[in-house]
Symmetry: C2
Subunit: 244 residues, 2 copies
DNA sequence: AATTTTCATTTGTCAGACAATTAACCGTCT
DNA sequence: AGACGGTTAATTGTCTGACAAATGAAAATT
């Protein structure tokens, strides 16, 4: 771990990189305690505040956790899927909002990924996942539901579908895409007829997954994707027309 | 932005959260300059080092960038896809290694995602992407190629395939999965016969994408997935047998 | 008018100090 | 001996104050 004081990067960034590399390479195993802040400061030949800034950078990525007290210190953190979800959602949300990714692009990505899960879900779905899917579809049919609540339930339905695939890597990858899209979805107003159509598709998707019919689920998802796209387009077109 | 000194969390973590929320909600727009560290310290009623730790946390997530000098300060950063790639790859790599995700699971996820891209790639592929795919397939056929170089070329081939789908969100999502898997792939030794089979599939996939034949590309990818799985299994089985 | 110098502002870094927390250690009492 | 309680040392969290380095703007000079 060598530090170049003349580098363009901050010292704290360099130190963070050095430690991060050690973690990613497996050099520092999970739950290994790092040297104390004072020792690190001595090793890297910097002051303690600088070391602390480096450690906070790593903590922000959930790479380490810190504990106070006599036996405390900074420990290499076992990255949980749960931790990764949060970061992925933050990152995806900002990517979508800051880079003006079109609804079309985001929607396309989301449904493409979901269709990738469908065959696996059709094979492995548990009663649990099916129950969630059906419960959400039922909730969506309740009268007086706000658009926001409808969207939230929609997200829950699709998360259950993805989780049914039984592949944590896929669940993790998709969580970001699905949840990050919620703000965009919330911009849409769903009429009663729109909702009925979507709920019908949800129910038929649940049926297909239930019956292990992968091909049928895929077709239905494609139909749902198309319908969502057209819905969004008409909403945006109408909004654009009102402006003039 | 209120800070609770009695909270379980560190002050710097609370301050980082407050600012992060303001950014994600759009309250702080891109390129907006934050107050200076001294001003923030006064606003939050903490010392400057504490504020700095909070800012470093945000910098670690590429949410802000800082600049020295008279007109310097911390600015809300426009998150680039490129920045997001790096974080995604780090996170995915650690998730796979720390949580002992099986090769089977990782491989399944990767090919499921790739197959989701195939239909789009078949529609939109540019000569550029096709050229890359063919170049990499050709490179893979060169004699004397190390296993590692073969894997690297494999990654390049598949990245081109994904990029050919022309959807940056998909590219971003998949970059993590594909690159994070490389360490796992590097554990495999590819015999000449294995390589020949893989290269043949790569060529046929490129042909299918070239000819806009989505269905055919999908089938070939499925075949490649199966073959990779069986290859890995036999390698691992052989290794296990040698141990005894 | 163009150029150079000065200056104010801001981040980067350092040194030292104290508070808060926590587990281990030690002594006392039962 | 064992349980209980106080002490202590180690470690992170926070604060204060200071100086260095960078940088653009303003002022002074040519």
């Amino acid at each position: 771990m060598k530090i170049d004081p003349d580098s363009a990067k901050d010292l704290s960034a360099q130190i963070a990189s050095a430690i991060r590399d050690a973690i990613v390479s497996g050099d520092l195993p999970v739950d290994k305690r790092l040297p104390s802040e004072s020792e690190l400061a001595e090793q890297f030949n910097v002051s303690r505040p600088t070391v602390r800034e480096a450690l906070k950078r790593l903590a922000a990525q959930s790479l380490i956790r810190t504990q106070r007290g006599a036996t405390g210190g900074a420990f290499v953190n076992r990255l949980k899927f749960e931790d990764a979800y949060g970061q992925q959602i933050t990152t995806s949300t900002l990517l979508l909002s800051m880079n003006a990714v079109s609804f079309r692009t985001a929607c396309e990505a989301r449904y493409a990924l979901e269709r990738a899960c469908a065959p696996l879900a059709a094979t492995r779905r548990s009663p649990d996942h099916l129950a969630t899917m059906r419960a959400e579809a039922h909730r969506q049919a309740q009268p007086g539901l706000t658009d926001e609540a409808f969207c939230a339930s929609d997200v829950a339905f699709h998360r259950a579908l993805v989780d049914a695939a039984g592949n944590p890597v896929l669940s993790y990858q998709l969580a970001g895409a699905v949840e990050a899209m919620q703000p965009l979805m919330n911009m849409i107003t769903f009429s009663a007829r729109d909702r009925a159509k979507i709920i019908d598709l949800h129910n038929r998707i649940a049926d297909a997954i239930d019956a292990h019919e992968a091909q049928s689920a895929d077709t239905l998802l494609a139909e749902l994707a198309d319908y969502t796209q057209s819905l969004a387009e008409s909403v945006f077109a109408e909004r654009a027309a009102k402006k003039t």
